[in-house]
Amino acid sequence: MAEYKLQTPLSDEDVSQLKAGDIVYLSGTLYTARDAAHKRLVDLILNGEPLPFDLQGAVIYYVGPTPPKPGEVIGSAGPTTSYRMDSYAPILIEHGLKGMIGKGKRNQDVKEACKKYKAVYFGAVGGAGALLAKRIKDAKVIAYPELGPEAVREIVVEDFPVVVVNDIYGNDLYEEGRKLWAKQ
């Protein structure tokens, strides 16, 4: 288990050094998107239309924050369960996405896309929404405001704590961690 501090956007070199179980502190810009936004992003790609942000080296955070109180940058902002984005993630990875942040298992298609196109799936601590929000320094809605909490936001983070769950070598932290501690 190593620790890294990385700046987004991520390069092939950045993600090649990462192994499942490594702790990473991300700084820079992330984009937020959940199911509804993913469907729209994939439709744009399939129709050959431009996306609302540059996908090259980008990191998407699966989150639907609570509304900010007056004076706050963002409300509580922890990860949502990632499998709901599994059917959309491979095509985004093929088009340049380098990182995804969420919680929970990914399917084989996502893991294969991570290997083939060099992308990493990070886990953040689910339910730590107040703590994670403190690492978010700026947030603005850049697409689909009508989706409310599910709108696409550009957020700026500093030392945002994540763990590598699926690396580009086919390792899976959930499977390995469980094997290590299972008693039957």
Binding site: S76, T81, G104, K105, K179, Q184
Partner: protein, 287 residues
Amino acid sequence: MRTVHYDDIVKAIRDTIIYSTTHLSEDMHKALQEALEKEESIVSKAVLEQLLENAEIAASEEKPLCQDTGLAIFFVKVGSDVQVEGGTLKEAIYEGTRRGYEEGYLRASTCDCFTRANLKDKVGYNLPPIIYFDLVEGDKIDIEFAAKGGGSENGSRATVLAPAQGKEGILNFVKQVVSDAGPNVCPPIVVGVGVGGSFDYAAVMSKHALFRDVGTSNPDPELDAFEKEIQEELNKLGIGAMGMGGTQTVLGVHIETYQPGRMCHIASLPVAVNIQCHSSRHAHITI
């Protein structure tokens, strides 16, 4: 006949929702601290430390513990000697929920299950809640509230076993559900198990079982021992905090049966498992 005013119920519910979504309950706090002491995996320990730190930040900043502030779930017992003036009890619960979620800057998470459009404009902010009413003796209104997140709800399951499968069948079903859910349901978790009643009521009981404080005993000695046996088996799965591998996956197993008599039909053994993530936001008020 005692009279309670609509406005007092609205305010009590509003305040309870805001407080319980920003302050981790004492029983969960204690359970997470004990899990941190017992956990052997370094990765899971680090997760548990983050969760306790998150609870401190949430309380001091009055910020939601988790961004999924859930569906509003109520179990309400209404005494036969109490009446509500100024509106109905159901309307008061709706209005208290709307105000709690909107004025507390909590997330509006209700949507049309087909179009997926948010219901905040059509029905109301995070409305409708889910309410189970019961009629009891006395002049009080007893309200249990939970903000139930979607992630742990998605890992919950119900079935009807054959009576011959008995306790072993129940244990195997619970184990399968928790194993399949793995990291997705934000462990360490509390596992609510409803046994008996009917197919639908087993699920209701599995949800109500989650209101019991973690660390308390089941009043039925046989079920108390069974709860501990199931918990031990589940912790052997090695799932750990947030599924990263470890020994502390389950903080408690709570079994509820249909009373009186732990009843079910002679042909059936309904079993439901409702999973509760570590951000168990539950509260109990009496008006």
